[in-house]
Symmetry: C2
Subunit: 312 residues, 2 copies
């Protein structure tokens, strides 16, 4: 494995900050096109142990009800054993982690909630070669699924994976299905996308190229979905269904999401970690929907893993 | 330890079902006095492995926005090792668990959310004496704390504990503070009450008497609080603060509550376990309140452990 230099890490940092700025700008444009004026405020923060981040949050918009696009670059003096279960040899090592993570909760139930993340981890165990890997992906959580949206989302994922190998899409698509699964509900969080971790199978530059493709791919994948549904009317019942389904998003993030739980357990910046939670969510006891309703089809069909590109 | 007979367990079951009925009737009366007509529906269910329960849920009332009062009596053929960490000698044993557990989310932010639980666990390891213990307690989560409410809640707890020993209140009050703590927020869930587990220090009948006192004590403690605040006006801002604070209730139940997590991990009845979640909850990014506001005092003072009976 080619070892990343400080200059390599600096390049990743610059890509991430630029990605964050481009994503916020593109989403603010959607907000404006939808008649809103809400913007992504900037909240820079530092961490006592070293490093810090730039949180960007938009709240109470006309198009985006709540969105957080968070950059962080953290220095770790000594990796705790709990953080390195898969890599016991780097416990105690100096390390750094940098990434962008976002969750966007639109107001219109016809626009899905979306999540994306790209990150790099580098550990420098004393007297050994540095160990590094990338991780990330993006996944989509529709309330009222639209076949063209789903195909477009997965086609974008498929296309960006192709230059890196024929099996990359299938592998990272399956990993996404496996990861974003609510065991206690026997449901997927949404219709998936890509997810990967421990990525260092190619040289550093190629892995970084893949990360760039994933980060840029999120924007390519999500903006046309906003464009298509931004002005679509919806009913009060659809809004209620959206709030109810957002409850599942909360359940996933608080019960299963490894990043969230790791952050809570290790004293991460709580506001940044929990910005992923929607501004409003609902739980009702055993709600029922008509057998042929789209609400029932959502769980019966769409929230199971499918080979969307061939099935739809 | 006196060993509970089938007749003893039957008596506990009858007490629990009666307690559930009395609590639902008393809360429905509050609903009616507040101009509502919502009732606790009855949802009986059975479990393939043995046993079942009676869930009672009231939704969308005028006074109670969502309330669940759940009875269950479960037969376990073989205790999983994960369920018996504190008692490794009963792994694999036949067992039964019965209890009532409730969470009530009122609509008016001046009425706190309340939780109570009473339960009995009996394991019958082959060739050994049965092992049993009671657990339970009640705790209060105010949004707009009222000193008389807090004193009344803890005085009721104090008085019911007195016949069982001078130190019982202090011990179970501290256990409650330790248990209902959100580490990642460094906040208590509320102003506490009583919590205990593994209770078999007295003979079975005395422990059962204590459980009865706790179950009945919940009603004595909560009803005057409903009476006092039921008609109290509130502002839209207070309502928003309530929804925001309910987010913390969701965080506690999904991240920390052992009963919830155990239920999710072991394939319990999801609807009954998650009926504790509010019908509506909110998260906003770094909301701020005036330095001297009651909203700020809630976290700065009330959501820390205090000796309420002597301090207020």
């Amino acid at each position: 494995m080619q070892r990343p230099t400080s200059a390599d890490i600096q390049q990743v940092r610059e890509f991430l900050l630029d990605l964050q700025a481009r994503i916020c700008a593109a989403l603010e444009q959607q907000e404006q096109l939808g008649g809103g004026s809400a913007q992504f405020m900037i909240d820079d923060w530092q961490r006592a142990e070293g490093g810090g981040g730039r949180s960007r949050v938009l709240q109470d918009g006309e198009v985006i009800e709540k969105g957080g696009v968070m950059f962080s670059h953290i220095d770790i003096r000594q990796l705790p054993a709990s953080a390195t279960q898969r890599h016991p040899n780097i416990a105690g090592a100096k390390a750094q982690a940098l990434g962008v993570s976002l969750v966007i909760h639109p107001k219109n139930p016809n626009i899905p909630t979306s999540h994306a993340n790209v990150r790099l981890f580098v550990a420098e165990p004393e007297g050994q070669e540095p160990i590094w890997w990338f991780g990330g992906g993006f996944d989509l959580t529709p309330f009222y699924p639209d076949h063209d949206d789903i195909k477009h989302w997965h086609q974008t994922a498929f296309d960006l994976c192709q230059p890196f190998g024929e099996k990359v899409y299938a592998e990272h698509k399956k990993w996404c299905d496996d990861y974003f699964y609510l065991k206690h509900r026997d449901e997927q969080r949404g219709i998936g996308g890509l997810f990967f971790d421990d990525l260092n199978r190619w040289d550093f530059d190629t892995c970084f190229d893949y990360i760039k493709a994933v980060g840029n791919g999120y924007l390519e994948a999500i903006i046309p979905i906003f464009e298509k549904h931004r002005e679509q009317p919806y009913t009060e019942a659809q809004r209620e269904f959206q709030l109810y389904r957002r409850g599942r998003y909360v359940e996933y993030n608080l019960v299963y999401d490894r990043g969230t739980l790791f952050g809570l357990q290790t004293g991460g910046r709580i506001e940044s970690i929990l910005v992923s939670l929607p501004n409003l969510a609902a739980w009702s006891y055993r709600p029922e929907w008509d057998e042929n309703s789209i609400e029932k089809q959502l769980t019966d069909y769409y929230l199971k893993p499918h080979d969307w590109l061939n099935e739809l």
